[in-house]
Amino acid sequence: MTIPAQACAVAPASDGVLRERGQREVFCGLTGIVWLHRKIQDAFFLVVGSRTCAHLIQSAAGVMIFAEPRFATAIMEERDLAGLVDANDELDRIVAQLLARRPDIKLLFLVGSCPSEVIKLDLSRAALRLSQRFSPGVRVLNYSGSGIETTFTQGEDACLTALVPVLPQADRAARPSLLVVGALADVVEDQFKRTFAALGIDNVAFLPPRRSSELPAIGPETRVLLAQPFLGDTARALEERGCRRIAAPFPLGGEGSALWLAAAADAFGVSRAHVDRTLAPLKARAEKALARYRAQLAGKRVFLFPDSQIEIPLARFLAREIGMELVEVGTPYLHRDHLAAELAMLPAGTQLSEGQDVERQLDRCRAARPDLVVCGLGLANPLEAEGLTTKWSIELIFTPIQGFEQAGDLAELFARPLLRQTRLAV
């Protein structure tokens, strides 16, 4: 009898990372639409998929969101699969219907799903055809958010990768520019823009932009600074267009923000003295904000389930700036290259895990009895009912946490569940 992969006990590999294969309690890439459709104000996301896809997106934020969303699902039905109708004709009809209803839409993403991938519906051809039909008013692009190919935040990676080919080419003579990649809260973007200006970097653009008419031009003089750790494909696509990536840790916490900004400054030839002078007061303010939470959280043991790929930078922040003890740090996917600086900063011997077998991971978590568990919405209440204290990880994606001014807010997200335990007497 062959040993099934799923039941296999996986020993840590030689690099010490526990790699597991089994049930994954993570979202698929479609979930990224929940924040992307708000970030790009004139974009619309049309999932080509099943009723499950539609149901997922409307449930993904934990509760249903009741506002006219800039996303929808073209739900495939029996007749689409049986070939009774041409799926492309159907898609064209639905896109026409949608654009007639929403004339404010300038950028339409056709988003592939598990079923559309399995039946091999070619959305790139559909996007091309529809782009021609609705040009110049509407540009149509496509990417896949399917669960068979992407987890959670990889949906944003796929979406941004789809944007790269349509970014305008910068002039040959263009002066060096900085492109910050990864959706950030508007307030965080504005703060970073001010700090970059103070550092002397004023040619800064963000991807994704707030409006599709503000697509940044890129070229060999463009330096790319990733704001999120899950953008492997986007970075590769940008590099293929000649951009150069600035290696840096991610801007979580005072230390992460300082290193991230300093790496950019370094790439733009800003003097170290000026960097120190500029960042010192910001760093001090972040440290002040963190001090209170450090007192509450230092020495507490935290277990991170895999969710958004933000776990490694987060663990680095929790260990180094807050003094928490890392029991296990799970990530759905470990991008060694982009996380090199982060991995080097983790305390020696930190147990990392990649992929998931949720039942085994829960066994380890229960055995370790951590003070705080960072996990997804499907696990949080059941673990609370078992007497563990949890922090839902999706909030880390839906909350402004990057940068100096948010360092305290980030720490507070972890302190709040523990504080709540001490307050409640019921």
Binding site: P4, T31, V63, E68, I75, I148, N381
Partner: protein, 517 residues
Amino acid sequence: MQLSVWTYEGPPHIGAMRIATAMRDVHYVLHAPQGDTYADLLFTMIERRDRRPPVTYTTFQARDLGGDTADLLQSAARAAYERFQPQAMLVGASCTAELIQDDPGGLAQALRLPIPVIPLELPAYQRKENWGASETFYRIVRALAASSAEGSPRRQREAGARPVCNLLGPTALGFRHRDDLAEVTRQVVELGIEINVVAPWNATPSDLARLPQADFNIVLYPEIALTAAQWLHRQFGQPHTKTIPIGVGATRDFIAEVAGLAGIDPAPVLARSESRLPWYSRSVDSTYLTGKRVFIFGDATHAVAAARVATQELGFEVVGLGTYAREFAREIREAAALYGVEPVITDDYLEVEARVSELRPELVLGTQMERHIAKRLGIPCAVISAPTHVQDFPARYSPQMGFEGANVLFDTWVHPLMMGLEEHLLGMFREDHEFADHAPSHLGAAPAAPQQPQLRVVETVTSNELAWASDAERELTKIPFFVRGKARRNTERYARERNVNLITLETLYDAKAHFGR
């Protein structure tokens, strides 16, 4: 393909999860890609369940396709059996797995586990959540009740023995199922009837094997339990109830029906039982409810029941009645005919929105989707049916069924409306600045059309040939915003019918006299 902004129902495997999660000692192995685990949060977050749904997802990825997805299913099923030791296992596919045609049921049965393995065929591209729940419940009842030792036709009960029934229908993630069950249980026990099995709520597979021991079945939610009840009727001769005890009248009818099936006299219980609704509805303060125009939409059972309560017990006028559940379109058509309205049978949220917008009701009784529509149009709304939202699982006892349920209906439907004298004051002193349309109000703000300028909602359009004189238009603003749409609509209809092209003050008041309030 169907363009869907919001969906009223999930896919059918979510229905199967609602059955599995409601039960104990059952495990559901779902052949599904990464990401389908989102469904867990419906139960752990929306319903605040303290346990994960008993579901194992095979979590296949692109690289598994064409390879060993079948192995994956078998190893997942075996691991789930070993870890959870269920009494029975459900096995099925989500939408993506349906396309790869692995035959999960057959693969799991081939493992020869020492428990019943029940394959589920839930066509994800044809059917939806409620159908999936109904089919799953039917399959599991059929598999477990038929194989039981008591599978032979029901024995006649000895004279003098207490009648025995089953309560069928309450599921996880059901709209007020928890509290309806408590209320109906209390009522049935008061009648002196013994409850044999409640299912699927908290039932184990061995409980289902005892279903045939009851004299009859009470079907609380036909969307979930009717198919199973019909099978039990055919197989074991158990009759089942048809009345849904929502509202005072229906509850009394239900008691009479149950007593009839049990062979007992309902009169003593009917004489004792009471609800506050009849007196609250007859008290003078409620006269302002008379003829309020109400639009009703939901699952068929709740919508039909709401229409009866609205007309007979609150004195409203039903102006629209519909459901998203095509399986129960017939029930809605019949009810709509009763109230002389056009049935709305659609699962297209945009179509429902257009209908509400066109009918301009004074109250919407709907789902969370209609709550959103009503909010946008500035119409009061109460929620009467799934799909559910975290707010539909209140901490307090809040049934829809039985006499206490009727009290709950009175409160939740009436509170969103403007109270009588308050309405008069608003009408009399329109110029009070605090009565301005955008002043804070418990009814919410005025219809916030400017918030969604880009949205083309179908509105009652003023046709080109019809114009409003400025003084008439000004007079219209003196009418409170929540009835202004109706006044405008009536006046324009009146003008059009009489070929009046310019609506003057006179036309406005002529129309008012013509239509009444």
